[in-house]
Amino acid sequence: MTTVAAKPATMAQALTRALRDAMADDPAVHVLGEDVGTLGGVFRITDGLAAEFGEDRCADTPLAEAGILGAAVGMAMYGLRPVVEMQFDAFAYPAFEQLASHVAKMRNRTRGTLPLPLTIRIPYGGGIGGVEHHSDSSEAYYMATPGLHVVTPATVADAYGLLRAAIASDDPVVFLEPKRLYWSKDSWNPERPSPVEPIGRAVVRRSGRSATLLTYGPSVAVCMEAAEAARAEGWDLEVVDLRSLVPFDDETVCASVRRTGRAVVVHEAHAFGGPGGEIAARVTERCFHHLEAPVLRVAGFDVPYPPPMLERHHLPGVDRILDAVGRLQWEAES
C-alpha cells in the first residue's frame, strides 16, 4: 500500500474535496446555489463540480435565497440530499422563513415521515475586509431554532470531516464556514481524509491548567494564539473547539472547565443574546462549584457589523482575550 504524505492544504480545498467525495459516493447529493456552477462559487468551494458531475448535480440557480432553500426542501422530500450554498451570511436572511418554518420543522410536523437531509453552507464571520452584509456572525439565529444542527469547522481536517458528516446526516445541518479561514493552510492528507465523525463532539485543541477558552470557528486560531501569548504571563490555557453548537457537547466542555475552574467564551458574534450567553449559562449550571470566577465572554460588540476599516476593533483579538483571562485571575485572588 502506497502512503501519500500529508501536504499543506487550505480549508477551501478540503471543503471542495468533501463535496466532491460526497457527490461521488452518493448520486442523491446535489449542490445548488447562486454561482456554484460555472464560476465554482465566489469562494471557489464548488470549483470543478459542475464539470465533473454535470449542471444538474451542481446547479446555478436564480438569485433568490428563499427559492434556493425552498426548492431544496422539495428535492429532499423526493429523496435527494441537497447541499445549498448561501453566498454570504447576511444574504441568507431571505431564506430564514424557509429555514425556521419548514427546514427545521418538517421532520417534527410530519412525525418523522418527511425528514430533510439537507445541508446549508453559509460562509460567515468577518476579518476579510468585506463590505457591509458580508461579515455577519448569524449563528445565534440558527442555534435558537430547534430542529437544526449548527456546526462550524476551525481546521482543514475538520472542514472535510464535518462537511461529510453534515451531508450524511438525515437532518438539516447549517454548516457555517469561517470565511477568513478559507485560505488557512494545514498539513492534510487528501488521500486519507479524516474519518466522518458524528456531529456533536467538541475537541480540546490545546490542553492547559489555568483556564479554558471555549470557542469555535474563526476564533479558534485567535484563542490558540492567545494561549501561546499567555505563557509569558504564566498562564497555561486550555482551548476547546466546540465544532458543533447544536448539539452542544456539555461533556467535553464541562470536563475541561471542571479541570481548570475558569472559563472564557470567545466568539465574533454579538455578546448580547449571542451564543456565549447560552454557553456561559450551561457551564455555570453544571460547573458552579468548580468555578473560581464567573464565566466571562469575549465577543463582538453589540453593534451592526462595522465597516472594514473598523472591524479590527470589533473582532475579539489576543489582547482582549488575555485581558479577560487576567480578570479571571483577579476575581480568584480578590
Binding site: 432553500l69 425552498g70 431571505p94 419548514h102 418538517m106 417534527n108 415521515t113
Partner: protein
C-alpha cells in the same frame, strides 16, 4: 456652444438588437375566464366526470359544514372553510395521477381528503393533536402549509427532483390570492419557469386575504397575467365551474407531464364563509356581494347541467347525499373521541437522534409524568414535586 455641438461628429453606437426571449402573446390569459357550464361546450362533457364531480362537491360541502360545526363544539381550534370553493378543491385532487404530488395551503383540506387522506387525519392540525396527521409520502400530499406561499418552492423542488430522476411526476401547488403577494410565490414561479419544472400553480382567488380585497392586493390586470413575467402560460378560469376548472387543470398537468413546463392558473371564486370562525366578515363586505356569489354556486351550476342532460336522477342525488351524510356522521363520531396523546412524542421527531440536551429534557418530562401518575394513584402522599431538572446541576463538592 453646447456639449452636443462640441462633440461634432459624435455618433452613438447603436445598441445590440433586442429580441424578446419568448413571444409573450401565447402566455397571456384569455380576456374572459374559461367556462364550460352554461355554454354549448358543456354538452361534450363526460357524464361520468360530471357525476363524479357532483358527488365529490356535495361531499365537500358537507365536510365544510361538519368541520365548521366541530369548531362550534370546541372540537377544532379553527376551521378555514372552503364553502363556495369546492370546485377548485375537488378538481385539483381529481386531475392528479397517483404518483403526482399535491401541495396544499391551510384552506385546502377538501383537496387533501379527495386525494385519499383520512378525513380525521386531515383535521389533526386544526384539532391540535399533531401538526400533520397523515403520512405525506403515502398519499403524496405535502403538509397543509400555514405560512403563505412557502410550500410553492417545495413543489418546484420536488417536481424538479422527480424529473431529474426520470419520473414523470407533476406537482400541483395551491395558494390563495393573498399568497401571490409573498416573495415565495415570486421565487417559486421564477424557479419553475427557469427550470421548466412540471408544476401547476393553482391560485384560488376568493376575493379576500382575510379582510383585504384583491384591489388592495395587486394592481395586475389579473393574477393569471403575472405568468407572462415569468415566461409561463397564465390561464383564467371560472373557479365555480367544476368542469372548467377540471379541464384547465387537466390541460396544465398534461402540459407539465409532457415536458412543457409550469402553468399558472387563476380560478375566480369566492369565500362564502368568513376566513375562519375567528373572523367577522360583515366588517369588510356586504351581504349583497355574498348573495351574488351564492347564486353562482358551484354545486347549483353543476346540477343545472346534470338536470338539463337528465343525469341528475333521484338515485344520483340520493347517492351523493347519503355518501356525504355517512362521511359526516363518521367524522362527527371519530372527532368526538378524545385524541390519545403521548407527551413523549414532543421529543420523538425533532432529530433522527435526540441531542443530549433533548435527552435530558425528555428525562425531565418522563419524571414529571411518573410523579403525576403516582399522585393520581396515591393522592395523599407527597407534594407532587418532581426530582429531575432539565439541566442536571452538579452537587456540592
Amino acid at each position: 456652444m453646447t456639449v452636443m455641438e462640441q462633440r461634432g461628429a459624435y455618433r452613438p453606437t447603436p445598441p445590440p438588437a433586442w429580441q424578446p426571449r419568448t413571444d409573450p402573446a401565447p402566455l397571456l390569459p384569455d380576456a374572459e375566464p374559461h367556462r364550460v357550464l352554461g355554454t354549448e361546450a358543456a354538452a361534450g362533457a363526460d357524464p361520468a366526470l360530471l357525476l363524479r364531480l357532483h358527488a365529490e362537491l356535495v361531499k365537500g360541502r358537507r365536510y365544510n359544514a361538519q368541520a365548521t360545526a366541530l369548531t362550534k363544539q370546541g372540537r377544532l381550534a379553527v376551521y378555514p372553510s372552503s364553502t363556495g370553493q369546492e370546485a377548485c378543491e375537488i378538481a385539483a385532487a381529481l386531475v392528479l395521477a397517483e404518483r403526482d404530488w399535491l401541495f396544499p395551503s391551510y384552506r385546502d383540506t377538501l383537496a387533501v381528503i379527495a386525494r385519499g387522506v383520512d378525513p380525521v387525519e386531515a383535521l389533526t392540525l386544526l384539532r391540535g393533536d399533531w401538526h400533520t396527521g397523515y403520512d405525506p409520502r403515502e398519499h403524496r400530499v405535502a403538509p397543509l402549509s400555514t405560512p403563505l406561499a412557502t410550500q410553492l418552492p417545495h413543489a418546484v423542488g420536488l417536481a424538479h427532483a422527480a424529473r431529474l430522476q426520470g419520473d414523470d411526476v407533476v406537482a400541483l401547488a395551491m395558494v390563495g390570492d393573498g399568497g401571490t403577494s409573498e416573495g415565495d410565490f415570486h421565487e417559486a414561479l421564477n424557479f419553475a419557469a427557469v427550470w421548466q419544472a412540471p408544476v401547476v400553480f393553482l391560485v384560488q382567488n376568493n376575493g379576500f386575504a382575510i379582510s383585504v380585497p384583491l384591489a388592495k392586493q395587486t394592481a395586475a390586470p389579473s393574477l393569471a397575467h403575472k405568468a407572462v413575467g415569468y415566461g409561463m402560460p397564465g390561464r383564467l378560469v371560472d373557479g365555480n365551474d367544476a368542469v372548467a376548472v377540471h379541464e384547465v387543470l387537466a390541460d396544465a398537468v398534461r402540459h407539465a407531464r409532457a415536458g412543457g413546463g409550469p402553468t399558472l392558473v387563476e380560478a375566480l371564486t369566492y369565500r362564502v364563509d368568513a376566513h375562519t370562525n375567528a373572523d367577522d366578515a360583515t366588517r369588510y363586505r356586504g351581504d349583497d356581494e355574498v348573495e351574488t356569489w351564492r347564486r353562482h354556486d358551484p354545486i347549483a351550476l353543476l346540477e343545472e347541467e346534470l338536470t338539463r342532460r337528465g343525469l341528475l336522477t333521484e338515485d344520483a342525488v340520493r347517492g351523493a347525499r347519503e355518501d356525504a351524510e355517512a362521511m359526516a356522521a363518521d367524522l362527527r363520531a371519530r372527532m368526538n373521541e378524545d385524541a390519545r396523546l403521548d407527551p413523549m412524542d414532543l421529543f420523538a421527531h425533532v432529530y433522527a437522534e435526540p441531542t443530549p440536551q433533548l435527552r435530558e429534557q425528555r428525562d425531565l418530562l418522563r419524571a414529571e409524568l411518573a410523579a403525576e401518575a403516582e399522585a393520581e394513584t396515591a393522592p395523599t402522599t407527597g407534594t407532587g414535586r418532581t426530582t429531575g431538572t432539565a439541566a442536571s446541576t452538579e452537587g456540592p463538592r
